[in-house]
């Protein structure tokens, strides 16, 4: 016997989410059937409003309800620093640290020809425009991931920005805070020794 059509559609929809396979999708679908109607309606509204109400900030590329976004509008932010991240998610992670008061720029990916992402496909042009328009920026901090692609993106940006006389910095790599040296793997230790700092 087949699943009734609404249920089959719901299972199919759940399966489009990352990390959810066939079995989990079925479980979630049956759970949804058992939920009360208001909860389901709220859930559906929340899903739809991510598409209706959210847009990308025209300045930094971050997800926002209003354009420009809250951070770009905030007069108390330090406008001399821009921190460049791969995804909007990373902005939230940085904000939770509560210790960075500068601005952001979201690239929406990293340079990866295999995935068809070259410099034109990323949100790089608007970063350059921003730097040309605002002379107050004196440092660009690059916070792409420590993957080969993340490194390539960081190198590319620094080659692009440095000639304008703006300081370009990269996040440090190495041991994570509070961790024991004895549990670190060889490559982490190698990077940590390479990037050691003078005391």
């Amino acid at each position: 016997m087949q699943y009734p059509e609404p249920l089959a559609k719901l299972i199919d929809s759940y399966m489009r989410l990352p990390g959810i396979g066939h079995k989990t999708a079925i479980r979630l679908a049956y759970f949804t059937v058992g939920m009360n109607k208001d909860d389901v309606k709220n859930f559906a509204d929340a899903l739809v409003s991510t598409k209706d109400k959210l847009k990308f900030c025209s300045i930094c590329g971050n997800l926002t309800e209003e354009d420009p976004c809250e951070i770009c509008r905030d007069p108390n932010r330090d406008r001399s620093k821009i921190l460049v991240v791969e995804q909007s998610k990373d902005v939230m992670v940085m904000e939770q640290m509560k210790n960075y008061k500068g601005l952001y720029h979201v690239l929406h990916g990293v340079l990866s020809p295999i995935e068809g992402k070259g410099p034109e496909e990323l949100n790089i042009k608007s970063l350059i425009k921003r730097l040309q328009k605002n002379e107050s920026v004196n440092e660009v901090i690059i916070a792409t991931n420590a993957t080969p692609e993340g490194e390539a993106t960081a190198m590319y940006l620094s080659k692009l920005i440095k000639p304008a006389g703006i300081k370009v910095t990269r996040l440090a790599h190495g041991l994570s805070v509070g961790s024991d040296i004895e549990y670190a793997d060889n490559m982490t230790l190698y990077r940590a020794i390479k990037g050691r700092t003078q005391m």
Partner: protein, 371 residues
Amino acid sequence: MKLKNLELRHFRNYEKINVNFSDGINVLIGNNAQGKTNLLEAIYVLALARSHRTRNNRDLINWKYENAQMKGRVSKAYADTDLELDLDRSGKRAKVNHIEQAKLSSYVGQLNVILFSPEDLSIVKGSPSVRRKFMDMEFGQISGQYLYNLSHYQRILEQRNRYLKQLYYRKAHDRLFLDVLSDQLSAFGAEIIHQRIQLLAGLEKSARQIHWDISLHKEKLKFRYVTALKDKDLTSTNHIYECLRALYKKNRNREIKQRTTILGPHRDDIHFIVNGKNVQTFGSQGQQRTTTLSVKLAEIDLMKSETNEAPILLLDDVLSELDGNRQTHLLKAIQDKVQTFLTTTSLSGITKKLIDNPKVFKISNGKITID
């Protein structure tokens, strides 16, 4: 290190066996198609979590069953280690001292093996890619950093080749990004070339002496690392990096035209030179065999000096390929030094006299008896 004990379940043609090995030479004797090489393969798989004969795990599992299990007890200078590898259709699980390892890289390297089979002649006779694979396999077992650099290099190479294609077909236009990829490739390429040259120098030192002895003091063996760079540029990682960068810059238009990266460690080679001549093209069959043997035996020394433990030697049907003089040298080189497993169809004449107290296992149709 020594492999003290091996337990197999449902591996190839073995239903269930449990054998204790000698620390010296273990001879696996039997007719064709009885399971001699399967036993060597089992040791190889236990060490490296993959086979040299097949890429498909399914081939390793006995056709009557769904999964295979292999366990080994390895004794090293300070302690014993228990290794366990479970294979089934979906993949493999590896345990060290009964603890499951999340990454295979933390499993591989617990047991070091060197395999020598008749196909190894292709290291001397075959194409450059065989020699590159030989270097990558050996050096990867010795150095985790080499493996790290290699995997990053391959990833960036793939990206760069793809970008060259996109530039050629005018789907991309940014030359600055190509420069970035070239710089990145040069950085990892320089590390690899530098490491290869250093490790090859160690290998050459032992191989030269072994070759000198086997050839009865008539032949001098030398290695030459063949690369697009000049010898004088190979002095330091930094220097290699700068030279690679310059070469990529110079060949930029050519590479775009050819849509691929035309130079770097993925195109390098080794030449084995005997008395000033390249053995691959000018050597006799005998010289080629001697060279292969010298290189393989030198690997034992290299691995020992880099990891402080002698590896385990697997000789698959090699004795029959060698003449009396070479057999003598091979057996002299391994006697009392390395634990060895060798397969043969018969223990006749010269071989028998040369081996002191071998432990002989008779293999017949997946069953093992001690002689």
